[in-house]
C-alpha cells in the first residue's frame, strides 16, 4: 500500500449530514417484542461527524453481476408467483441522485416463506426462488429489480400476527451516516394497521414513504406489473427540499 505523510493537524472543514430528528422508529418500541432485550437503554451519545462518518464504502460494479437484479432467473426454472418489476431512484434529501451505489434486497417467496433454515412457516419453499438480489444505481440513481411479489407470513410477535408483504432493502449511499436498511411495502396492504414494525415509525407520513406505488406506465404488457419506490437518504442540507407528499 502507498503511504502518505500524515497531514498536519490544522483545522479544515467537512460536509455534514444533519440528523433526521423523529424520522426513524424508536429502538425501544414495546409493540415489537424483540426490542425488549435488544434495544439499548442508554440514549446514544451525540458525536460530531468527522472523517470516518462523512466517508463510506463506495461499493459498485465489482460486487454485482448483471443477473443479480433478476430474482426470477437465478435457477433452472421460473419461480411461482406474480412476476413484478420494482424500480425507483436513490436520492439524498437535497434532491441529488446517488449514482453507482450498491442496493441489496431479500424477501420471502410468493407463499410467504424465506429460503432460510430458521423460517418454519408451513408454506412451501420454491426451488426456483432464493429471494436475494443486488444491483448498482445508474448515473441518475436509478435501480430496477425483477422479482416475485412476496407473500404475507405469520410471526410470533402476538396472537394472529402477520407481516404485511415486504422486500428488505439495504443501501450504502456515499457516507457512513447515510447507511440505511429498511423494508418496502405494497399499496393497500390490509395488514398495515396491525403491524408493529411498520407502525413503529412515529410519523404517519414517513410510514407512507415505505409504501411503493403501482405504475401502469412501467408495467410491461403481457409480462409483469411494476411498482415504483424512491429511497431518500440523508443529505448535507446544502439545498433543503420538501418533495410533494403525493410523490412520496
Amino acid at each position: 500500500m502507498t503511504t502518505h505523510p500524515p497531514s498536519p493537524p490544522t483545522a479544515f472543514s467537512l460536509p455534514s449530514y444533519p440528523r433526521p430528528e423523529g424520522l426513524h422508529p424508536p429502538l425501544d418500541s414495546p409493540g415489537y417484542r424483540s426490542t425488549a432485550l435488544r434495544a439499548p437503554h442508554q440514549p446514544p451519545l451525540l458525536i460530531p461527524q468527522r472523517l470516518t462518518e462523512i466517508t463510506g464504502p463506495l461499493l459498485g460494479e465489482g460486487r454485482v453481476a448483471p443477473a443479480d437484479a433478476d430474482l426470477t432467473t437465478q435457477h433452472a426454472g421460473e419461480p411461482l408467483g406474480e412476476r413484478i418489476i420494482v424500480t425507483g431512484r436513490v436520492l439524498d434529501s437535497d434532491g441529488r441522485p446517488i449514482p453507482d451505489t450498491l442496493l441489496e434486497i431479500w424477501q420471502a417467496n410468493a407463499a410467504g416463506r424465506y429460503h432460510h433454515k430458521v423460517d418454519q412457516h408451513p408454506a412451501p419453499l420454491d426451488p426456483n426462488f432464493t429471494g436475494v438480489g443486488r444491483c448498482v444505481t445508474d448515473s441518475e440513481g436509478r435501480y430496477r429489480f425483477i422479482t416475485i411479489k412476496p407473500g404475507s407470513y405469520p410471526w410470533g410477535n402476538h396472537y394472529n400476527a402477520w407481516r404485511p408483504a415486504h422486500i428488505h432493502f439495504s443501501m450504502f449511499g456515499r457516507a457512513f451516516t447515510q447507511r440505511l436498511v429498511t423494508q418496502m411495502y405494497f399499496p393497500d396492504d390490509p395488514l398495515f394497521p396491525y403491524d408493529p414494525i411498520f407502525n413503529s415509525i412515529p410519523d404517519p407520513r414517513a410510514r407512507e414513504r415505505l409504501i411503493s406505488q403501482f405504475s401502469i406506465d412501467l408495467t410491461e404488457p403481457d409480462w409483469a406489473l411494476a411498482y415504483t419506490w424512491d429511497i431518500v437518504l440523508r443529505g448535507t442540507g446544502a439545498t433543503p427540499f420538501e418533495p410533494q407528499d403525493g410523490a412520496r
Binding site: M1, T2, H4, P6, S7, P8, P9, T10, A11, F12, S13, L14, P15, P18, P20, H24, T35, L37, R38, A39, P40, H41, Q42, P44, L45, L46, I47, R50, L51, T52, E53, T55, G56, P57, L58, L59, R63, S93, W106, Y114, H116, V118, T130, V132, H168, S170, R174, L180, V181, T182, Q183, I197, R205, A206, R207, R209, L210, F241, E242, P243
Partner: protein, 189 residues
C-alpha cells in the same frame, strides 16, 4: 424534520440470506502482511448471544486516509476496501480481518485515535446502532481522542477498546452488549 427521508426498519431474522458476503469479514485477505483479526461476540440484555445479527465496520487505511472524494487530503490508492461485514454465529461471534487504521486529523485541529466505526444490525433493532472500536495498545492516542473524551465513566469508555488476545498474535477482542450492565456506548452520528 423528516422531510422526504426514508425511515429505517429492522433487518428481521432472515438477513442471513441477503447481506453476508463470502469475503465480507476479509477487509484484506488472511495472511496479508500486517493483518489483524478482530473477534468478539454480540450479546443481548439477558447476556445471551445474539445469533442473528450483522456487524459492519468502516475505517481508514494504515495511512489514516480514506479512498473517498470527501476526504480533503485527496485521492489515495484504491487498494484497501476499508469495509468489513460479518454475520454473527450461533454463539453471537463475529470476526473481521483487516489492517490497523492510522490516526486521523479532526476538523477542529485535534487527532482522532485509530478506530473503526461499527454498525450493528439485528432482529429487534429497528435501526442500526453505531459504536467504535479502539485499540488498547494506543493508550497515548486514546487519551487524546475527542470521542473517547466525551464519554463519561471509565468503565463505559473501556468498553470501546479492543484488547489484544494473549493467546493469539495479532488478534483483538471486542464484545458488544446491546443492553444491560455492560451496555456498549452507542453513538448518534
Amino acid at each position: 424534520m423528516t422531510g422526504g427521508l426514508t425511515p429505517s426498519q429492522t433487518v428481521g431474522p432472515y438477513l442471513g440470506i441477503g447481506l453476508p458476503w463470502p469475503d465480507g469479514p476479509y477487509v484484506v485477505a488472511e495472511g496479508t502482511p500486517g493483518a489483524i483479526t478482530i473477534r468478539g461476540r454480540l450479546f443481548d440484555g439477558a447476556g445471551d448471544p445474539v445469533p442473528d445479527g450483522l456487524i459492519e465496520t468502516w475505517q481508514a487505511g494504515p495511512d489514516g486516509r480514506f479512498d473517498h472524494p470527501d476526504d480533503p487530503r485527496g485521492a489515495v490508492a484504491k487498494e484497501f476496501r476499508g469495509f468489513g461485514r460479518c454475520p454473527t454465529g450461533p454463539d453471537g461471534s463475529y470476526h473481521i480481518v483487516t489492517l490497523r487504521p492510522g490516526p486521523l486529523p479532526s476538523p477542529d485541529g485535534g487527532t482522532e485515535a485509530p478506530h473503526l466505526d461499527v454498525s450493528v444490525f439485528a432482529r429487534g433493532l429497528l435501526n442500526r446502532v453505531v459504536t467504535r472500536i479502539y485499540f488498547a495498545d494506543e493508550a497515548q492516542a486514546n487519551a487524546a481522542d475527542p470521542v473517547l473524551a466525551s464519554i463519561a465513566g471509565d468503565e463505559r469508555r473501556a468498553g470501546l477498546i479492543a484488547t489484544a488476545d494473549p493467546d493469539a498474535d495479532g488478534t483483538f477482542r471486542f464484545d458488544i452488549h446491546l443492553q444491560g450492565e455492560h451496555e456498549t456506548v452507542f453513538f448518534d452520528v
